[in-house]
Assembly symmetry: C3
Homo-oligomer: 680 residues x 3
């Protein structure tokens, strides 16, 4: 399927996870829910998540009538179904009868039944059970007009270390390395006498076994990703056989990096995710959470370069957090609009109705335990429903970012496992969010891509900490600059190959050194309380002195121009920030962890020079951002978002029509706290 | 037995845990100890704790002569014996021969022999071994005139997850729920497909299995309590058969909440506990520790509504603390008097003589390793012995509190496992201690009762965080207010039933909402560093603005009068403190975590209005409290306690005679640092 | 062998760990390395560490040619070999074939293959495999002229709890205690019914078994030490049989105290260790790290009272630290000179060349991944190589300390396991380092010895926290003072025997109380934020008031003179610092944790009184120290070290010739940051 898949979804989706199987003995609940859904502008719910025991209460006995009734009742009331496969949580009877399906943790202890995502992705028994239930589900519902999307399993996660998985892992390694000699070289097992002389000697990483062969650690994570993807591919087979036209998705988690989601992107029809920033955890300013959230929205959109679905966010609180902090008034609409601004074609909640018991009973829901349609939360959701109804025109609009930031999860794994130069925290994500934030504050759309993505279409590519040079990324980056692109690359660059094997000779390796015009000499770690400074002179256009911390790389210049130099320590005077002409393009190098003040100043200057278009051609006040989506026929939607619990004023460069309020605004305009606008 | 049991104990007990089996090869130690005990005014020691291997060094071979000799020698010297059963620590030979008696932790790994309370309460073997040793003990000692009390096991604790316990647990569940369907509904297992379809699928909570079904967690704790109580009941059978007139107790621990001690109270003749506050862990003021300790004394007295025994406290330091801080001069007598003021008929120490080796060798004892009777600690104990000799008149005196605070351990389990609104700490105990402290500072006696207790006799009942409404508590509370009582109820009220299943519809449930005149809307969590304020106007009599934190409930008013309102945030203006007329009584509702300043002010005002009698009708200075016990014939004992390492002055409303010093005091009176007085 | 062994090593060694087996497929690397070694003044490398799988890739198949070639190539280029036995890390094939060799942790779970030092020291299989490989190694290399030292295993560590070890442990206990009755008494097992009635009941300490019998804990550590030493003795047999003249060493770790290295000292020919202070973890002053490092150098020298080898230190960063902080310019030479000043006859690095992969790939090396001989690190090593070439004269020079500090690892185990008076930290090492630092700041050489060492030759013996009186230490200490020696003893003194069994009666026990003239009464623990003060009057020569913390002992005086008294708390006025004349000597007693200001002042005064010679008769500025070594013929080498990243000035008492710079210095002399001088 193609980019068109998502735009074929009929409307801007508004809805929630819904578990009617919890209320089968109170049939009035379903009818009341439908009434409330209509009131709240809900047009779509996710049904069937973790419902296996309700669908197959004993082996081979399927009880689907309740589900069909629910789907039918919703449909005749105008509510679509996103239908889940139930495989994220298996019935107890299955665990009891087939203990092999229970997951084994890295300590090699098999779990008991319980929780969710507690199964082995390799187990032939579990795969067969999955095939059977999905075949039945598809038979019954794949051609039901209400069903618009398959929601496969849910929040897929974890890894299994059972003997079945060990055997598959060895097969996977044989395929990758062909010979043990090759594997031993790439993993550098000669160190500490770890050379394998028989494939059977290889075990997955274990706290009481082998935790420190980096190549093994990386390959294990890759294997787990591929094994999970393989399970997914088997899982959707019966669904696709029944009706190839229903798209399928999984619900990704930003906080989970155990899987390389980008490998999943290739096999999914639609990207969707659950968004849980820690709102209101400080004072009045929520731009920190907003930047984090915007970043992940962009990552999801960029995965398939098409609109995505916001599959979960909380109507107000998330009860698994340390503190259940309510979304402040306006925040629900604002976060829905934020998602749409970054490419979402939905705003879905976890959850529609609070469960009466168990571990998420106090997670906010659209409908609380009291069942009220007068609650503050319900009314906020209604307000959002009203707004979303007006935004169907956005569905086919694209973001068209001119800037890309490389976030590569395999590189993240490698950076965090690198052992030095800062085991107290390399700050990969911090550096990326700092860079991302400098664009967010300008209202400049950004694509968040990994090292496999195409670079050609961007005016600017930011490459924070590209420690590991996977695949042909180095070649493509050089080519991109050579042909006229601009790249900003940071410290901890080009040091290892995809198996975490260090490059010998000059680094940054694979010619990145030539592109940057600098050569790596060494890198110094700073304790959290230690600082250095970088001094830029007036010619740089960045005049001033900026605090640096954590990591200071020492580089020498080949061809680059030095813009900023270290002020202190034995590398005082050494270059800390450089730019190099390479082909028709330019490559900047940032050798140390600069502070946010510098980052904002630098990227503002650079975007100006590169004539990168802001969503709104005005300087935005602190905490406010703007986004943009444009249809193929040129209709432009401008999203204005105030993430501060205070009023803000902006100067509009031209009058705009706010679709949500139905008002035209112009000139100096006041934004209410947590205001959200969608303008044409 | 009845309330008279404890008052039949012959004297105000003063003594300690004593382990003469450690010194059998130094017979001079026993004689020296008796000499020193008499010097220190010791009239009673606990013997036989953890002595199993000394009593049965090989299977079926009993060696009781040493014990009989000790008991005899003590008795002829006027020292009673509290005789322990040895079952808290089994011999190694037993563990080796019968591995099934070793406990299995929640990770399903069987312990090795070691420590104490490391046995299975279910094991038929262990129960039989317990029966045999206790039968022999009773045969020999149950009719010995020295033996005044059975001290059963010691500091009973822990749980076992072995297969025998799993089977018993399932039996227990079948009895409680009758059908799986019923259990599944109450535990809401439908969530995450956890529905059980066979009883054999149920396992106790496990970190690598099922940790998050709240109903299961609660029932498991209830089962463990009942299994432990059942073990106790079997354990005392041979004791009672030999002589039904010797009462029995267990030694409870305030820091341990794994067992619902209130269930034990029903089967015990006498309540006793070990008191280990963290004295002197700050500056000069010890009122924090004093409030904690007083609270637990009151809880122990209230369990059976009769005097209790202070079974352990340290003569000076507790070596298992992070820091072994000595009791300052006077503190030992002060803490003895504090215990008696709150209903204790004893002051017992752990321990009489320091052991030479093992893990408690540096725990303070009356007699240290140097065996001296000149040590500061020994002299402090002598001083206490002298004082206690004068207090036999107090033995039959009651406290007669007019105020009750509900502390319910089952509710505590539920609150702390609730998952939201503050997983960083719900503060159940903090809220209770704050409330309790407001009475302590006024010198007002308080009963600490659980939800099963009778409410009728109190003028005021405080109900902090009654999240879970167990049994008929709600009905009794409403009836109590209706008939003219006053209740102060706080946030997080009436949300779940006894299986942690949320009430649907209006809450606080079961009519508590009517009683309070308010309806719960939602609850907001605050991070530790966030604050709100509540404003009371002048009509409330509490005029002012008070800081609140952690949890802010949003409620609406049905019939209540609003006394205080939130000042900030989106619920500014919402009621935060209300009062409602209900029947002939009044019900206050505190919707948020108020600060201590407010708590003290409010309860002072309220106690005045309700004409609740203070132990001493005067305003007490900071750190000083007063208690009261009264005999049936009207003799009143007033206890004055200064918990500050500074002198304090109080204005006595009338002259008092201090029994300890033998002096009459009146008018403005100076209290020395850590002074204690018992006045008539 | 004797003291002469080390001085027979041909030169001041300069070199590194070298792992050429990692580069066998790049033969040009070996030649390049030899070239670079010569440039860097390297004359000796450690080869073969953890190389087992390269030497025996399958069972019984030995592949030594590559090693012989390396040794030959090095030798013809003037580079000696320290040849390692490979037994620290076994091949995977061996673990797979003989699972019994895998270590079992205290939780009784057998490790998987992985890491290093993951074998059982008891296993007959592992001992046989070790014998076979070492026999082969010795056959081939024991008479090779290049091989000057056996480097046995590497960083020996850890313990195994397998059944084989349990059985050996029981045998060891039977030998020590003969009867169970004796063992039970010494371990005081009567406590908590832990009496053993069969040897088979005894198990090593376990978190889920018996963690709290202190005697068991101590004996287990002693057994592990002896079992490891026994393994070592078997391991070197084939080496010594082949050529008894090649000395053997192990590479000790200062951070590891699981083994009593002093027991190893007896069987080693040469002491060597790896030195990893945390340099530059604060501001400009590195004297904290310098004191720590100097202390350990002195401990290593004192073990056999002969020069030792610095076997490892980092050329710049250690990648296993939280932060990889580079050695600042000059620091490498300074740390080499520091080692030599304290008795080292070498400066060896970990590592010569950075490995390409695995867990230490970013540990600094003389040659980095880029292979450069222009790197800052390489040039620093060259500078050190140049300096060391001039220092062969120092090889036979001794330090001849007049002061000794007792650091006893068995006592440390006991102190830290004592349970009271401060489980939050007894501060044994802190107290020792504070004392040690007071000499370092004066430039006074110190021996660091354990309780078994001879005391007679010292003018001053410092005895911090001699909690456990092992062997005849008390008798020897008393005799030492009696005959005219001076001792400074601190709090927590003479409380238990070697099995952690408390002394009864007066303490400090075994007559130490007489020697000190004080009697222990009790000890008070202070929380981290609590303080007391000690006041000295003018007669003491230490006039002033000094802050104390953590532990305050209460003692009474028998014959001692009181120099300082507590100022606050209930022991105000009690002695806190005393001195006692005993025979012809004096014994000081420090009853509390004094601050550093006092320590420096006191020891300066005392050293003056005792006419203890400073290395340089001048007052040294902060951060600067001086050391001294003298040959038998009276040639004196003075080492001047500036551990501050600032210039310092000293006043030389007489002109000196700096061998390194070849310059004569005199009078007021400026020391550059991190300057190091070796003067005659």
């Amino acid at each position: 399927m193609s980019k068109n898949v998502i735009s074929k979804l009929p409307v801007m989706l508004h809805g929630a996870d819904y578990n009617p199987e919890q209320w089968l003995d109170m049939p009035e609940i379903l009818e009341r829910d439908i009434e409330l859904m209509k009131k709240a502008g809900v047009n779509c719910v996710s049904v069937g998540i973790f419902s296996w025991v309700s669908l197959e209460p004993e082996e081979g006995v399927y009880t689907f009538d309740w589900l069909e009734n629910v789907i039918n009742r919703l449909y005749v009331n105008g509510i679509y179904t996103v239908l889940a496969t139930p495989t994220g949580a298996k019935p107890s009877w299955m665990a009891k009868k087939y203990p092999e399906i229970l997951r084994v943790e890295s300590n090699r202890v098999r779990n008991l039944q319980g929780g969710r995502h507690n199964h082995c992705y390799t187990s032939p028994v579990y795969r067969e059970k999955t095939r059977l239930i999905n075949t039945e589900l598809a038979k019954r519902f794949a051609n039901h007009p209400a069903v618009i999307l398959w929601h496969v399993s849910n929040e897929i996660q974890g890894e299994c270390h059972c003997e079945l998985c060990q055997a598959e892992f060895r097969k996977w390694l044989k395929k990758k390395y062909r010979t043990l000699d090759n594997l031993n070289k790439q993993w550098w097992t000669c160190f500490w006498s770890h050379t394998y002389t028989d494939w059977e000697e290889i075990e997955s990483p274990a706290p009481h076994g082998e935790p420190c062969i980096h190549g093994l650690n990386l390959d294990w994570k890759r294997f787990c990703t591929e094994q999970t993807v393989d399970f997914y591919k088997e899982e959707i087979k019966p669904l696709k056989e029944a009706n190839p036209d229903i798209p399928a998705t999984i619900n990704m988690m930003a906080y989970y990096d155990g899987i390389d989601y980008w490998k999943f992107a290739e096999v999914l029809d639609i990207i969707s995710w659950d968004s849980y920033p820690m709102w209101h955890n400080g004072g009045t300013d929520d731009s920190g959470g907003a930047i984090w959230n915007a970043f992940w929205h962009d990552a999801m959109r960029s995965m398939k370069q098409q609109p995505f679905l916001l599959m979960e966010n909380t109507p107000s609180t998330a009860n698994w957090c340390g503190v259940s902090r309510h979304k402040r008034p306006g925040m629900n609409l604002l976060t829905a609009i934020q998602a749409i601004a970054h490419g979402s074609n939905s705003c879905q909640y976890f959850q529609w109705r609070q469960s009466r018991g168990s571990v998420e009973k106090f997670h906010s829901a659209v409908v609380g335990h009291n069942g009220s349609d007068k609650s503050r939360i319900f009314l906020e959701i209604c307000k959002t429903g009203d707004a979303l109804r007006k935004l169907d025109g956005v569905l086919t609009a694209d973001v068209n970012a001119q800037v890309a930031i490389i976030y590569d999860v395999e590189n993240k794994w490698a950076v965090e496992d690198s052992k030095g130069p800062r085991n107290e925290g390399m700050g990969y994500t911090d550096q990326i969010l700092q860079t991302y934030g400098s664009f967010w504050k300008q209202g400049i759309p950004v694509d968040v891509i990994n090292m496999d993505a195409d670079l050609e279409k961007y005016r600017l590519v930011c490459v924070p900490m590209p420690y590991m040079l996977r695949g042909d990324f180095a070649a493509r980056l050089k080519k991109y600059v050579e042909k006229g692109g601009t790249a900003v690359v940071t410290y901890f660059c080009g040091m290892v190959n995809e198996n975490d094997l260090c490059y010998l000779g000059e680094t940054p390796a694979e010619g990145i050194s030539d592109m940057l015009g600098v050569v790596f000499e060494d890198i110094d770690g700073l304790y959290d309380y230690q600082r250095n400074h970088v001094v830029f002179d007036s010619e740089s256009g960045l005049e001033g002195e900026y605090e640096t911390s954590k990591l200071c790389e020492i580089v020498t210049v080949k061809t680059a121009e030095v813009l900023g130099k270290y002020k202190e320590d034995f590398y005082a005077g050494y270059p800390a920030f450089t730019v190099n002409n390479y082909g028709k393009g330019k490559a900047y190098y940032q050798a140390t962890v600069m502070n946010g003040e510098f980052s904002d100043k630098f990227y503002k200057k650079l975007c100006g020079e590169l004539r990168i278009r802001r969503s709104l051609e005005t300087d935005l006040p602190q905490g406010v951002t703007a986004g943009r989506r444009m249809t193929e026929n040129g209709t432009e939607y401008i999203f204005i978002e105030n993430f501060v619990n205070e009023t803000r004023e902006i100067d509009l460069p031209y009058p705009l029509y706010d679709i949500i309020s139905g008002k035209t605004i112009s000139g100096r305009t006041v934004l209410e706290p947590y205001a959200a606008m969608v303008c044409k």
